[in-house]
Symmetry: C2
Subunit: 346 residues, 2 copies
């Protein structure tokens, strides 16, 4: 056993690979080992200690696949990021990535593992059912509705443990956590207007539902102030394409607008760079506001006025609601307030 031991201690994976091996060494039955290690149900204290000692000594780790199969639960939560028409969109979208980081921490804290999947729904209509049906996950968190709102609604009817990050729409059936985008849009536009802007534009892809809500909020503000409608300047999210598109928009409309509300801070930063390059003063000639309050918002010159989403709170909300749904509860959606962060671009 001593030779074994040295190997075991180094690698943590030795001759004691199964609960049965361990049972043999401890001179008990596999069932008892299972009970001892699970910590519940009554096991003689001495027996338990002996088993635990041997387990530790040999670096024994129970096989989670087997346990999962038997108990019909895996201890794994699926996190899926659907990539919409603009397939590469999220790859550099630090917002989603930051959310993912917080989610990982929060799930870990709750004792769950995280299985990550990025899917392109247009290549794979079955993306959500496939993930759910894989048997690998106890529940699923969808990051972003992309253009898959209806698909998600369908699934929500028959599958409980799912929570979605995204936009809330009156009467929807899936449980969502997200910022009040319409409110956020309104706050941004109001700030631009208060800073003196009268002809507003919205920079971003308004076919994305969250962005559409931000746009709508901005329209609300403009309407209320009797200003002309906000002009939509569509862009993709990937920095390379967006940079070009922004340049074109500015070239075409720079004279006609004096306030830009960008759908994300990333777009706002690109826009700022482009305006700077063309000698347009910000906030002198054009006021600018972003959305998200990512770290970059503090680092632009001048620093960016934006609308803050509380990403950590979002992650906590997603996990909390999911765990409650896993426990059988029905849960309402959670709408987080949007908060204006006034810096120097508006």
């Amino acid at each position: 056993m001593n030779e074994d031991k040295s190997a075991d201690e180094k690698t943590g994976r030795g001759t004691v690979r199964t609960i049965t091996d361990l049972a043999r060494l401890a001179g008990v039955s596999p069932g008892t080992v299972s009970r001892a290690l699970a910590g519940k149900s009554l096991v003689n204290t001495k027996t338990r200690e002996k088993i635990e000692a041997i387990a530790r000594e040999h670096g024994f780790r129970p096989n989670q696949m087997a346990s999962g199969l038997r108990r019909q639960k895996t201890g794994v939560i699926g996190v899926v990021i659907p990539l919409g028409h603009d397939s590469r969109q999220q790859i550099s979208d630090s917002f989603f990535m930051t959310l993912l980081g917080f989610l990982a921490d929060e799930l870990t804290r709750q004792g769950y593992d995280l299985m990550l999947r990025r899917v392109v729904p247009e290549n794979d209509a079955d993306w959500l059912d496939r993930f759910i049906g894989s048997g690998m996950i106890d529940g699923v968190i969808v990051i972003g509705q992309s253009d898959q709102f209806d698909r998600i609604e369908d699934v929500a009817d028959g599958y409980g443990p799912m929570v979605v990050w995204g936009n809330h729409t009156e009467g929807q059936r899936h449980c969502v956590v997200g910022t009040d985008n319409r409110l956020g849009g309104r706050l941004a536009a109001e700030r631009l207007i208060a800073a003196g802007a009268k002809r507003l534009a919205f920079l971003g892809d308004t076919t994305a539902i969250e962005f559409a809500a931000r746009f709508a909020g901005a329209q609300d503000a403009a309407r209320r102030m009797d200003l002309p409608p906000v002009m939509a300047l569509p862009t993709h999210l990937s920095p390379e394409r967006a940079a070009e598109e922004i340049a074109a928009h500015i070239a075409a409309h720079a004279g006609a607008i004096d306030g830009i509300f960008a759908a994300t801070d990333t777009l706002a930063a690109l826009c700022l760079t482009e305006l700077h390059a063309r000698g347009v003063a910000v906030p002198g000639d054009i006021k600018l506001a972003g959305f998200d309050d990512l770290p970059i918002a503090r680092q632009t010159v001048p620093p960016l006025t934006t609308v803050r989403q509380d990403i950590a709170a979002g992650a906590r909300g997603l996990v909390d609601l999911l765990l409650r749904r896993l426990a059988g509860e029905q849960t309402e959606s959670l709408i987080l307030p949007a908060q204006l962060v006034a810096r120097q671009t508006a």
Copy 2:
């Protein structure tokens, strides 16, 4: 069956949950269904088509836990991010997050799922063995060596399918993919020197092994040019703490240095903001270079001179090497070249 069907088609999870259910409906044995769905070994074409039709109709998905348990492989690759003493470091480290995004895409392309874990080694000395021994993953990719170099070396001796993103050290035993940090550091310093800097400083935590190599590269350059040694200005990675620390460093040393090489673009951007706030001209008074070439490097004012890491190539390399190791091959480490991207801060 029609009632079933409508329910099934909506949710994709109906009465046909197991291969045995499906076998009963198709009038064959479970074994045949397994073979038909696996696509290999000979199955009568008509039988196969029938089985496939029923499977599709009922939205059947094989249970991957069961399959994994039986085949002793899961189709899942573990990705683990060890968080060193500076626990929160990576949470906002867009470099690791970007790498993760590319990894997810690359693993998906290869038909693998990704299980993500962030661990705090100081709370959990057993982090790597536990993950490997869980039975949930076929192989593991470690993102960043943090302060766990020795732990990783130990594991590498007894466990094949592991590849690490990080720094390469002469004679190490674990397979690593990473940028040539020392070369990168040298390139950055040479650029600062060519731009006229003579008294260099390195901004970042030199106890992190990758950063230490960048620092060493900078020292090489300074020594070769007969300049005084590069001054180390330690910082944490989290933006909040780093911002303060940078401010303090600049207050203390602004007059004594004329070139700063920051360990990452994030730090460089913070540094630029701070220099700007204090009225120090860049590159006039102080030359500045970063590392990574993240999107933010193009967006600072003025845009940042930096050293590019090819993140996409890194992700491809990690996955490629891992799959080869999974196939039993021995593999060498992969060192990617560093490339200077000259912009306007040096």
